[in-house]
Symmetry: C2
Subunit: 200 residues, 2 copies
DNA sequence: ACCTGAACACCGTTCAAGT
DNA sequence: ACCTGAACACCGTTCAAGT
C-alpha cells in the first residue's frame, strides 16, 4: 500500500475479510452482511472472497469458529483467575460468559444459530466443545465436593448453561434491560442458578 | 380460480401472505424468506404485498405478533387445565412453552429477535406481555403461598423464563438432542428451576 | 496461486398505470 | 381500494480470463 507495488492484496485477504466480517456482523447483523460489501471494504473485487470462502455460509461458519475460540480463551482465563471457592468459580465463569456474549451479541447469536444445520463443518462443534470444557470441569469439581447435585456432569452443565444463555439471549434482544440493571440481575440469576444446582 | 371471474385475489391477500409466510419461515428460515416467493405462492404480482406490508420487516413483525398471540392461547389453556398444586402449574406452563417453541422453532426465534429492533411496532411488545401474563400470575401466586422466593414478581418470572428459553434455544439449534431425550431433560431442568425459585 | 470482470438469476423497493 | 408491470439498485454465485 506504501510505494508502487500495490499487489493483488495487502497480505492476507482471508484475515482481512474475517475482520471486516466481524465488524459488519455487529454493525448490521448476519442477515444484512454482504460479501460484496466486505470485498469493497477490503479493496478487492467481489469475486475475490471466493478463493477463501466457498460461499457466504462458509464465511459465517469461520466467524462462528473464531467466536468459539475467543470464548474459550475468556472462559479459561476466568476460571484460572478465580479462587478455590466453588460458588466464586461458577460466578466467575458466568460473568465471563455474559460479558463476552453481551460484548458480541450478533456473533453470539451466530454461534448458537442454525450453524448447526445441515452442512456445518465438524470443526464448529469441536470448537464449541473446547470452549465449554472449563464449565464442564467446574461442574465435575463441584460434584466431587458435594456442592452440586450428582448426575451426568454434561447434563448438569448443560442445564446450567442453558439458563445463563437464556438470560443472555433475552438481554441481547432488549427484553430485559427495560427495567433491570443487568449486573444486579445477573448476580440474582446466578445465585438462583447455583441454588438450583445445590443438592437439597 | 373456478369460473371466469378471476378477481384480483381470492379474498384476503393479507391473511394468505401471513399463512404462506409462516410456512416459508419454518421451511427455509427468516433469512431466506422472500416476499417475491410468497407473492408467487399466493398467486399475485411481486408488488402486491406492498398494499398490506410496507416492507419485509413489517411482514416479519406481523408473523411475530401472531406468534405471541398463539403462545398466549397455549399458555392460558395450560394454566387453566392444571390443578391447584404450584409445582404442577409451573410444570404445565413450562411444558406448554417448550412444546410451542419446539413446534415453531423459526417463529420462536423471530419472536425474540426482531422484537426490539429500531422501529418495532409497540403492538409487538404488548402482545409479548399479554402472552406471558399467565406466567407472571403463577409466580405471584407462588409467592403468596410461600412456594417462591419473594421479590418483584416480574423479575423472578423473567429469571425463570430466561432459563426455560435458554433450554429451548439450545434445543432448537441442535445443541442438546445429540445425547439427551428432551422430555426427560425438560423435567430435570424444570425441577432444578423450581428448586432455584424455592426459598431456602 | 490469487485475483478480475462480465454475466446470470434472484432480491427488495418504488412508481406510474390499470380496473 | 387493490393490484400489475416495468424499472432500479443491489445481491450471491459462476466462470473464463488475466498476472
Amino acid at each position: 500500500m506504501s510505494a508502487t507495488t500495490r499487489p493483488y492484496h495487502h497480505g492476507n485477504l482471508r484475515e482481512a475479510l474475517l475482520e471486516a466480517g466481524e465488524r459488519a456482523l455487529e454493525a448490521h447483523g448476519a442477515q444484512n452482511l454482504s460479501l460484496r460489501e466486505l470485498a469493497r471494504d477490503v479493496g478487492v473485487s467481489h469475486a475475490a472472497p471466493r478463493r477463501h470462502f466457498a460461499d457466504k455460509q462458509a464465511l459465517l461458519d469461520a466467524l462462528a469458529l473464531d467466536g468459539f475460540e475467543g470464548l474459550r480463551t475468556i472462559l479459561t482465563g476466568a476460571i484460572a483467575d478465580a479462587g478455590p471457592d466453588f460458588d466464586a468459580r461458577l460466578l466467575a465463569l458466568a460473568r465471563a460468559y455474559v460479558a463476552y456474549a453481551t460484548d458480541h451479541p450478533a456473533l453470539t447469536a451466530l454461534m448458537f444459530a442454525s450453524k448447526h444445520q445441515d452442512g456445518a463443518p465438524p470443526e464448529l462443534a469441536e470448537a464449541a466443545e473446547r470452549a465449554f470444557a472449563p464449565a464442564l470441569t467446574a461442574v465435575a469439581e463441584g460434584q466431587r465436593t458435594g456442592a452440586v447435585v450428582p448426575g451426568e456432569p454434561e447434563r448438569v452443565a448443560k442445564v446450567a448453561f442453558a439458563a445463563l444463555h437464556g438470560l443472555v439471549a433475552l438481554t441481547n434482544n432488549g427484553l430485559l434491560d427495560d427495567d433491570l440493571p443487568l449486573d444486579a440481575f445477573l448476580d440474582e440469576a446466578v445465585e438462583r442458578l447455583v441454588a438450583g444446582l445445590r443438592p437439597r
